[in-house]
Symmetry: C2
């Protein structure tokens, strides 16, 4: 169909992350290709991850979000850019697409040798009563952003529905604008991809910033009036002048479906490791596709900007250099969000997903500072690690804290990619100078703790037992216990330094659970007790991981 | 010698990083062991990496540096701590050491089943004329720190000799104290472990902060007077009220040598992967030992706090659980330093070491921002990557910049540990939200660029050619060229967007080197030229990497 003498005709549907990346890479690989970029919206290659920050005023310049314009793409990449143009059909046999100019309504036909679908995803808008009220917004495009920013100028009460990544970013930005924000989330936690205990610090931070959290509830209807009333499933009413619906996205696969391309179980476009759909001349990349999970090989859809960019680039590689393109390694689902001073994120598998999938795993949670504690400015972070019991390989990690969260997630994403085990983490040689790290980084500490668990040196528990036969031993200094009591009566308090001398105060015939602020001292105490014949386990992650995300390890010096 | 019924007698020589870590781990593994920690100095387990920051006042509390005291070690770990006590001899046949109490001068004998040597390293003090002047200091202990801090109170002119990690930290801290600082370095660059171009930003930053840099020179003599004159090899005189000698350390192996333990070629104590010396009952860890390089298996000595801590822990593991201890993986030499707003560091092999060792390598240098450029606060970083041509495996990396340097070093240290290739880096799924990263992180970018180089899509050069037959093509916008001219006359300026239309201005019979601010646009231009039949190469890392570490990618918007 395409004799090697004539230039390749590449048509790309969608001009944002995956589409624009593919077009740029394609042009680097072929000066002669005829590359047409078709985008339904008026904008191409804009920074969609930046939209909340322009609404909140943290990004001042709208131009900063326009990474490229149709004009710059044409000048730099010699692309034929068609904005405000929709591809309405694919004729796979004839290899052409039907274009419709959205302004004029005129249609035309465009032939292709290779076609790349990068249509992205669209925000979910469930058919709730009142959903079409003009005060209910979703955020996906520069146009959405402009409309929300305009509406926010006169709105005071904001309801953000859905506490995922975008919901949290929007809640933060509306607080920056001094709005009164209510955040409604269906599940009983913020940031549903994370395991629940890893979201406590986020929740605490949002409450400190006066965001009202409504967890475990959802919108049943929007009731118009002077204010828009969000009627929740619980019956509760949340009054709002403006509603952001951020409950997720669905892949935009109308075109692929109509063309008869294979779709996955959840409706995404299925691709192979070179981004080819079931039609080898049609590629797909970005939020609309389903790839494989890096760890398990299961189908995985990760609608995020980073993967979209690299998938688009890879598709162009395979189109123009099929024998040299490297397969997509699969998705880790690495993601992070900032809410005020707190960051939280994950890479790989979580405990809830592992449990739901019935996969074997073990886990530890550790606390530390983001750099040497003796250096000014050390901030607490909390790291949860999951690994495979048979091989010790890292399966996933979650991190939250006030600094250095992105670094640990990136180290652990790299560790998963390299097939590293908990033993490797224990010995990982990370950069250390007091302003940047610690002689034993929290990643090393997670490795140590995981190995100790694997080797039976400690038995971790992730909750205080209800069984009154179990002795709860709080090994913190008594003044700290007095200032920050356990949320449970009946614990015995013996500080670590006195434990060897006071073992007689414990009943050797009854099991013990040791508790401290961060989890480390409880481990130390558990080692003493285990070697003295006690049946002992230790609360992993300490009080901070389970009860109070800001619980201090020691009292401030007066 | 040690029937399993009687407790192990463990003697540890040296109570700082490796020794204290070993003692702590040993106690967790054995409540019954008799553990004696012998330390020549008055302090144990102090944060030696923090010493410069207390001198400079950035760390306010001296107590913060005392991680543990003899009293807390005794209370928490039931150790027998002997400070101000020297081990003067090891009787390997009888398995005892001779102790000398430094205060009283009395000697005694202490039997051991297992002995751990963690003597550390001592600062080099070459026998130069005047070296014993009391104004010449080295920094290793809390006592050194106190003496320097006291002397600095009345000193105004400070000479720091040696621009390695400690020299840079001391120079920075003395500037914080408003001293007049001269930094003298034997090699022609700061931070000699790095490749020279990766130190330009550091040098620029120090000069901005009014540190006088004297590179490629060394002290020949100290001439006493009202001021101490540092007479340099060049003949130049540097007047100082206080001199810090930070030209390196040597392993403290007097004891090991006298005991007949095997030493390496550079005088370090040789150990196996479990930290055992040539006497299997004597272990060694920390700055005094030689392990293996992670990448090549060559002998490697890395006198840094992180490895010391983990080696001490590993030695204790092997003493108490020989069948479960995991071998030391080898050293990467990951290190980082902060000097004012700039950080710089490395992991694995550098170009200069690879070249000196005659090992095959390829390299690229890339510029980017530490997070999405459209998000406020984006800071430039520069990353140099080295990889093996045959396998594509990462051999080493260096990074410098104003933020996010530690993160990239840690990701690349983890990548080396996992055996990742440049293809893996291209697809690495790192955390991205605008405040933390970019859809294509600089680590991805380094992977892309390395793969492009490997695949022959671009031929990088790391200097502008002197050959007048080569056309130098500057593809920056003309106003930027006017504001930040190339340090070389005769370049042709055609901005990238106009290049396709203006190819006729170039001579197709002569080679071209493309140049831009950061290296990326030069690559884009090289692709256009290569596909149009030109013999073209591109300056890797751009003007910023080679000529001006603060060269902007665009003019500030007025």
């Amino acid at each position: 169909m395409n004799p090697s003498s004539s230039p390749v005709r590449l048509v790309i549907v969608g001009g944002v992350a995956a589409g624009a990346s593919a077009a740029a890479r394609a042009r680097r690989l072929s000066e002669s290709a005829a590359i047409t970029l078709v985008e339904r919206g008026p904008d191409v290659s804009f920074a969609n991850c930046g939209l909340p920050y322009f609404i909140g005023g943290e990004i001042k310049s709208r131009d900063a979000l326009a990474v490229q314009t149709p004009a710059t793409l044409k000048a730099l990449l010699a692309l034929d850019v068609r904005t405000s143009t929709e591809v309405t059909a694919i004729d796979r046999a004839a290899r052409h697409v039907t274009l419709r100019d959205l302004a004029s309504g005129t249609t035309s036909s465009l032939p292709y040798d290779k076609l790349l679908l990068a249509p992205g995803a669209v925000p979910l808008r469930p058919p709730l009563p009142g959903i079409d009220d003009p005060r209910v917004f979703t955020l996906r495009s520069l146009g959405d952003m402009d409309r929300i920013k305009a509406a926010a100028a006169t709105a005071q009460r904001i309801a953000v529905i859905g506490a995922g990544f975008i919901g949290l970013e929007m809640a933060e930005q509306f607080v920056h604008l001094a709005k009164q924000v209510t955040l409604v989330e269906l599940t009983p936690q913020l940031l549903p991809p994370l395991d629940e205990p890893m979201t406590h610090l986020l929740a605490d931070e949002l409450r400190k910033r006066h965001v009202e959290l409504v967890l475990g509830d959802s919108v049943a209807a929007f009731e118009p009036g002077a204010a828009l009333t969000c009627r929740l499933a619980s019956g509760r009413a949340v009054e709002a002048d403006l509603v952001i619906l951020s409950i997720g996205v669905r892949p935009d696969t109308t075109l692929a479906r109509a063309a008869g391309l294979d779709l996955g179980a959840r409706g995404h476009i299925r691709v192979n490791a070179y981004m080819q759909t079931s039609d080898p001349d049609i590629y797909a990349a970005g939020d609309a596709i389903e790839t494989e999970d890096f760890v398990t090989g299961d189908p995985a859809a990760v609608p995020l900007g980073g993967p979209a960019n690299r998938q688009g680039r890879l598709a162009a590689d395979h189109i123009f250099r099929p024998s040299e393109a490297k397969p997509y390694p699969g998705a880790l689902g690495t993601a992070i969000v900032r809410a005020f001073d707190v960051a939280a994120g994950l890479t790989g598998w979580t405990e809830k997903r592992l449990r739901a999938a019935g996969r074997a795993y073990r886990t530890v949670t550790v606390n530390d500072n983001h750099h040497a504690g003796y250096f000014p400015g050390a901030k607490p972070i909390l790291l949860k690690l999951l690994w495979a019991p048979d091989t010790g390989r890292v399966l996933g990690a979650q991190c939250t804290g006030l600094a250095g969260v992105d670094k640990r997630l990136d180290v652990l994403a790299t560790a998963i990619t390299g097939g590293l085990t908990i033993d490797d983490l224990a010995q990982l040689e990370l950069s250390y100078a007091p302003p940047f790290g610690a002689a034993k980084d929290i990643v090393n500490l997670a490795g140590f703790t995981a190995c100790n668990t694997r080797d039976g040196l400690v038995t971790p528990v992730d909750a205080l037992p209800d069984d009154p036969a179990v002795q709860i031993l709080d090994v913190r200094p008594p003044p700290l216990v007095a200032a920050y009591p356990l949320p449970r009566a009946g614990a015995i308090n013996i500080p670590l330094g006195a434990l060897r001398a006071r073992l007689g105060e414990l009943d050797r015939t009854r099991p013990v659970v040791t508790v401290c602020a961060l989890g480390k001292t409880a481990y130390f105490a558990a080692r003493i007790l285990a070697q003295n014949g006690f049946a002992v386990s230790a609360l992993t992650g300490g009080i901070r991981a389970h009860f109070d995300p800001r619980s201090p390890a020691k009292l401030p010096t007066p």
